[in-house]
């Protein structure tokens, strides 16, 4: 833990070193998020309420999604790149260090553009989240759990590359799929798709249940979400460690 924090501090300093670039990249992502908010406002303005969802509830989902996306893809950005690093044999230098390889890989790099998501999510929740102390605490806890599920799932998907010997395509498809499916209300999906959202592409645990918790808290949903967060982190970690045994060097000395 101490090592991971030290590595994380270095990554933070590296990201903050070029403040102009950091601000520019964050601004780009915020503009991107504003466009999506525009889409949802236009959508609900035209169709009204859909299965209990209106523009306001959608903005809460979007606030949670951008916050947890900022945490997972911004602060632990390599969770998205495990497949590429494994496929390219780019983990050599990690294995020479006396630290936990997964913790080091995850904390090594911050992606400034996704910090724009994090900032946007917080501001959006303050503006549209019907702020109370209870809802704010639930928003923070739910976002952290969603981020944990996302990180675990992405590490798991990327680690499959150790076994499949591809170029990380499965991990990339998994990334695109979970982000896409997390961006929509759980209630619009039915039947087999809903089963998919709770299993193979666990988008329900990333944004669906966290939003439900903030809107209408109940202990069972909270327990399921915490268990899912722990479960996916464990699954990702286990698959990565198992995959490392099959890792072959690409003779590339990169700083992952």
């Amino acid at each position: 833990m101490k090592n991971a924090l030290a590595v994380f501090r270095t990554a933070t300093a590296e990201a903050a070193a070029n403040r102009r670039s950091l601000g520019f990249q964050m601004a780009i992502m915020i503009a991107n998020d504003v466009a999506w908010v525009g889409f949802w406002i236009l959508f609900f303005r035209k169709v009204g309420e859909v299965r209990g969802w209106d523009a306001n509830r959608m903005l809460v989902l979007f606030a949670i999604l951008t916050t947890l996306g900022g945490i997972a893809l911004g602060l632990f950005s390599n969770c998205r790149h495990v497949g590429r690093l494994a496929a390219g044999g780019e983990l050599d230098h990690v294995l020479t260090l006396p630290v936990d390889p997964l913790a080091y890989t995850l904390t090594r790099k911050i992606e400034p553009i996704f910090l724009g998501d994090l900032a946007f999510g917080v501001v959006l929740f303050v503006l549209a989240g019907d702020l109370t102390v209870e809802r704010t605490l639930l928003y923070l806890a739910a976002s952290l759990c969603g981020a944990a599920v996302l990180i675990g799932f992405l590490v798991f998907g990327g680690s499959l590359t150790f076994f499949s010997r591809g170029r990380g395509e499965a991990g990339e498809l998994g990334f695109q799929a979970i982000l896409l499916l997390s961006s929509y209300p759980l209630e619009i999906f039915g039947g087999a798709t809903k089963v998919l959202l709770f299993t193979a592409v666990p988008a329900a645990f990333v944004s669906g249940l966290p939003t439900r918790l903030v809107e209408d808290f109940d202990v069972v949903t909270a327990a399921v979400l915490v268990a899912a967060a722990a479960g996916f982190l464990g699954l990702g970690s286990f698959t990565f460690r198992l995959g490392l045994r099959r890792y072959t060097s690409g003779a590339l000395w990169t700083r992952a």
Partner: protein, 258 residues
């Protein structure tokens, strides 16, 4: 002309030789279809069957064409062109006895054609099996050339925007801006009829509707040949604009150095 044909063929071959990339695109495209189908199913049901004259089946076919046309092009093409300008690669390409932008457009069109086939064909088959044929056969026939014109306009438009890198050295911001224009004003996410009055006016005035809305409107059951004519006019204008701005940028490189 043979050189441009060769660039087109090379681009097509390059895309086909990357089955992993095509598979990811096709998989993502099918997920997009699934997601939008769920969304429009819930929305049309809430509205009593149709929205602005679009039934659920019409909206699903709309998504097939709109997403297919946009997914045919590289998502970060503007950024790539900007990097090529910034790194000096374009300066090397200027040594060839052909138009830089013409050569690039020909190669990208070849790649886009391979991608559109890889994503739209399986997508259309899935929707055909699930929802039946497109609402209008004439509209569906017109949608085929319209799809090609759509990614042609998109590629030319991206080159126009990317040329800003000749002057500002970084096209990243331009890429984000352009992408959002195509998403909202181009009708990729919502048919233009769903936009409020002022926004709909600008969406129909700017060229982005040619890149997603036109083939999508045709495939959703409206056989409106004027859409194709509009696309042809905009394609000519966008290619001319791309040639002009690249010409100005190349002259700047020759004078100031790359």
């Amino acid at each position: 002309m043979n050189i441009y044909r060769a660039a087109f063929a090379a681009g097509f071959g390059r895309a086909v030789r990357q089955p992993g990339d095509l598979a990811v695109r096709a998989g993502f495209y099918l997920l997009l279809l699934l997601t939008f189908a769920a969304l429009w199913n819930a929305a049309t049901a809430a509205q009593g069957g149709d929205i602005e004259g679009y039934t659920f089946a019409a909206l699903v076919w709309y998504v097939v064409a709109a997403e297919g046309a946009v997914n045919a092009t590289k998502p970060r093409l503007i950024e790539e062109i900007g990097d090529a300008i910034g790194s000096g690669l374009i300066a090397v390409e200027m040594l060839r006895p052909v138009s830089v932008v013409g050569f690039r457009l020909a190669a990208e069109t070849g790649e886009a054609l391979a991608r559109v086939l890889a994503v739209v064909v399986p997508g259309a088959v899935v929707v055909l099996l699930a929802e039946g044929p497109p609402p209008s056969s004439a509209g569906a026939l017109l949608a085929v050339p319209s799809l090609v014109l759509a990614f042609g306009c998109n590629l030319a438009g991206q080159h126009v925007f990317a040329a800003s890198a000749f002057w500002v050295n970084d096209a990243k911001a331009t890429w984000f801006l352009y992408q959002k224009f195509v998403f909202l004003l181009g009708g990729m996410l919502l048919p233009l009829e769903f936009l409020p009055g002022g926004l709909e006016f600008w969406a129909r005035t700017l060229p982005f509707w040619t890149m997603a809305y036109a083939p999508a409107r045709l495939l959703s059951g409206r056989a409106e040949p004027m859409l194709l004519l509009g696309q042809v006019v905009w394609l000519v204008a966008l290619v001319a604009a791309a040639l002009a701005v690249f010409g100005a940028g190349e002259r700047r490189l020759q004078v100031a150095g790359g």
